[in-house]
Symmetry: C2
DNA sequence: CGATTCGGTTAGCCATGGCTTACGGTAAGC
DNA sequence: GCTTACCGTAAGCCATGGCTAACCGAATCG
């Protein structure tokens, strides 16, 4: 479960991969379509999509010789849950600290 | 604004740095305290904290010769907002796709 | 079937970045 | 003031990983 977060964050850390991810998010499409307009070659995009897929961030659907990629909510959901843990735990603590700082000036 | 997401994701991508981040989240503390128990040296932790700080994920407060680190909600908030964009936009689209797949079986 | 299109895989190159060791600098304690 | 504790920084080493070029498999169309 922690590993899920690890691979997702690692996948989204790369700028090119994040661009690809956002592009798929804007509109599902085939590899060639996604690669068009990007400053990297098509095999590079293919490799990135593989990483994103293994991270549970995208899903692929065969369509003839093409292969359509779309977002996969599972990875997003895992990340969101992970982030929310910190919100509950530490935002309150930070607020206490901020108030304390303020009152001592 | 997009750069904010970039540095935050990049900072959280490294396993050691994520461990440090979670540790700070569990309990604010000094560098030495955080480094204790970790499989890396103290300077390494210091370098990681610098990255986390520049990513807006932690804040440091001088305390004598020590330096206390705590979570910074700004980075978390930026990440959360970024993730929420995808939820609104694409979860619906994915659901439509899933329903469509189901109806064609 | 041949030809074409589309896409995943491999090998290899090179840059990025995480780690350690050594150092310098500052604040507390005696 | 001198020592000690705590921490950030610099230099250098080495592994990870992203990229391209070349290859190969599969599906569609004439």
């Amino acid at each position: 479960m922690a590993n899920r977060i690890a691979v997702a964050l690692n996948a989204l850390a790369d700028p090119t991969r994040r661009t690809i991810f956002e592009r798929v998010g804007a509109a599902p499409g085939a590899v060639g379509e996604i690669a068009a307009g990007l400053p990297v070659s098509r095999p590079a995009v293919s490799q990135h999509l593989k990483v994103l897929k293994e991270a549970g961030l995208v899903t692929d659907t065969p369509d003839g010789t093409r292969r359509v990629y779309r977002l996969d909510p599972r990875g997003l959901g895992a990340l969101r849950d992970w982030l929310d843990r910190f919100w509950g735990d530490q935002l309150g603590a930070f607020k206490d600290f901020a108030d304390q700082q303020e009152s001592s000036e």
